[in-house]
């Protein structure tokens, strides 16, 4: 698993994040994992957060409206609007944080997903362009929260084992 290619670059000046990852699966399956809500919800949220998609119609002009849900039930909503789709090759979306009534918090960011297959391995390239540095800062802050709660989750799992000693 660890031999799979993973590249992550942040260009602060261009407010752009570049992510490249290889998967040990055929392209059509990886494509489904990124474009079908049943599969997306299984992996999109970093544990212990959960991804819950309320609406998703994967078509140009369509959207995915979903929440990241913390173990305490705290919801972080986001709205993704699909702006371009070339099946099994590329799709683009406009991503924004939102409230629970689907009102987006602008500005958001433009996401560009590229898929390619070689020898049964699928490579996914993601480019995230933020409209403002403040937006990028917020995105990173959210990421930080997920990271911190993951640490606390590990701690809460550790506690019972310590109590038994």
């Amino acid at each position: 698993m660890n031999t799979l290619l993973f590249d992550f670059t942040v260009d602060k000046a261009a407010k752009t994040v570049y992510i490249k990852r290889e998967f040990a699966a055929e392209l059509s399956l990886v494509w489904d994992a990124f474009t079908k809500k049943e599969i997306l919800d299984q992996w999109w949220a970093p544990k212990p957060w959960a991804s819950r998609t309320k609406v998703m119609n994967f078509e140009v002009g369509g959207r995915r409206f979903y929440a990241m849900v913390s173990p305490e039930g705290q919801e972080r909503w986001a709205l993704q609007k699909y702006t371009s789709i070339s099946p099994k090759t590329n799709f683009k979306m406009y991503n924004a944080f939102a409230d629970k009534d689907e009102n987006p918090e602008l500005p958001g960011s433009e996401w560009d997903f590229n898929f390619s297959e070689q020898n049964g391995m699928t490579e996914v390239n993601i480019i995230i362009k933020n409209e403002s540095l403040a937006r990028m800062e917020k995105m990173i802050e959210m990421g930080f929260q997920y990271g911190l709660s993951a640490t606390l989750q590990q701690l809460s799992e550790l506690l019972p084992t310590l109590e038994n000693k």
Binding site: M1, L4, F6, F8, V10, K12, A13, V17, I19, R21, F23, A24, A25, L29, V30, A33, I39, Q42, W43, W44, A45, P46, K47, L133, A134, E137, M139, I140, E141, G143, F144, Y146, G147, L148, A150, T151, L152, L155, L158, L159, L162, K165
Partner: protein
């Protein structure tokens, strides 16, 4: 063992304090395009405010203001050489920004590791 848990919680708290501190400081510093350009300039070698101002279509006062903010955020340091003040970059402070960005990298790493598991489960089901 209890001490270890306390240490763990303490570390988490300290990290949060540091984050708040950084939010106010470093990101304010790099949120401005002129300040980012100044950072790039003085990353190469230390420069006087006049030399820095020569690179911009702006007043010396404006450059001084940017330098003050960068100094307050501890992203640049001053060094007196005779009558001149030279500004240079605090590399360690810039590294803190990268450390913070690494938190974000970690999220994607975790997310993709989960996807690996999902993909292999689906592959098994199909067989």
């Amino acid at each position: 063992m209890r001490n270890r848990i306390v240490a763990h919680i303490f570390a988490a708290n300290r990290f949060r304090i540091k984050l708040n501190h950084m939010r106010r400081d470093i990101f304010q510093a790099i949120a401005d395009p002129t300040r980012r350009a100044i950072i790039t300039l003085i990353a190469v070698h230390a420069m006087t405010p006049n030399a820095i101002a020569d690179n911009f279509n702006t007043t010396r006062q404006s450059v001084s203001k940017h330098l003050r903010i960068l100094t307050e955020c501890e992203l640049v340091k001053q060094e007196h050489q005779g009558r001149e003040i030279y500004y240079s970059l605090e590399i360690e402070k810039m590294k803190e920004i990268d450390k913070w960005l690494n938190q974000f990298r970690k999220i994607w790493e975790d997310r993709f590791n989960q996807l690996d598991k999902v993909l292999s489960t689906i592959k098994k089901q199909r067989k």
